[in-house]
Symmetry: C2
């Protein structure tokens, strides 16, 4: 009886909503009720937005971003500097950097990190696509904006090796070839961070990378 | 720039998701990304479930419940006792009682509580509908399962007055008429509740309504 409290159609909606990250069975019910009570203001437009997403949203074949167009809005944005490529693990990282408006460059989404234990090897990530882009010779800098985790750093090292190998090969066919500059995000104390709550690794990096007081 | 990180279609989806209860702008983005990444398993069926909800879900004209049919699944359930009517403020309260499987009766959803300060009077609630149902003479008990708030109790008192007035009138035309029994939920210590964390009102009710130890 309790499984069909609200009729099969609403129960189905609740069941699907409960699979969204951050929602459980109870909050899914609250969301379903809120949607139904605000049918014209919320349920109808959200249903429509999802239909559009189903139809139009795709992975950008250039950078791996998610958008309604491929190449995506970022790849086709002529106000961006195409010579700088920010390499990220996931679309959510790309979004985080864009929200912060910290760099006006192009992106490359790897789609994960190397993780031998989980069976994720180089072929499972979009590394071949990255090397194809760097081979064209238009990119001057690669910023490895991966997470500061073991997997992220392993992936960063692997990509650096691959890029250096590619640079050697390109140098053979073109002696004037200038290798791409490879950089990574700075480590240190996050803004607003209290030293007491930071791990030793972060404190070590913060001391080692210390700068002249401004 | 930051407002169109992910293209207008996805941004629109995120904006609508952020209006769901319990979700903020950040979690809405996470949900949108999760939906897009799990297109076939989640986005497509959820989009379809919402389309069905838009088309079919309606308010039951008998009890005020929300369902794909009117009269609703509960009102048409012949295994329920139609002589007992549980009066609740909101559909979410009906769902909560049904989940607990504590009573196999019919329901009546008021759609809120009396709240003069917010301009909610008797005509804004489904009280006329309730009196129409009780006038038929088939209901033997009304359980006022309203919240234990000032507004809930005010509403319970108002409904009780209305039912008693109706009983008087019905008695005039039919001297054999038996008035409907009106009851309310018991107040007391919730199961698992610690006395230390309970308010004085609850403790007072728990003492006043104390029962022989079983």
């Amino acid at each position: 009886m309790a499984s069909h409290v609200a009729g099969p159609d609403i129960e189905k909606l609740i069941k699907l909503l409960a699979r969204l990250p951050g929602l459980g069975p109870r909050s899914a019910r609250r969301v379903a009720l809120h949607l139904i009570k605000n049918k014209d203001q919320l349920l109808v437009p959200l249903s429509e937005a999802m239909r559009v997403a189903v139809e139009k949203v795709q992975v950008c074949e250039t950078c791996g971003n998610i958008d309604s167009a491929s190449p995506c809005t970022i790849c086709t944005d002529t106000r961006r500097d195409p010579s700088v490529l920010v390499v990220v693990e996931d679309v959510s990282d790309l979004w985080a950097l864009e929200r912060a408006s910290v760099i006006n460059a192009a992106y490359h989404v790897l789609g994960g990190t190397l993780s031998p234990l989980d069976g994720v090897g180089p072929d499972d990530l979009n590394i071949a696509g990255l090397l194809k882009r760097t081979a064209k010779g238009e990119i001057r800098e690669i910023i490895l904006a991966v997470n500061a985790t073991v997997e992220g750093q392993t992936t960063a090292h692997y990509i650096t090796d691959q890029l250096q190998e590619q640079a050697k090969e390109l140098k053979v066919s073109n002696p004037a070839y200038e290798p791409i500059r490879i950089s990574q995000l700075a480590h240190g104390v996050p803004i607003g961070g209290e030293l007491d709550y930071l791990d030793e690794g972060t404190l070590l990096q913060a001391i080692r990378s210390r700068k002249a007081f401004e």
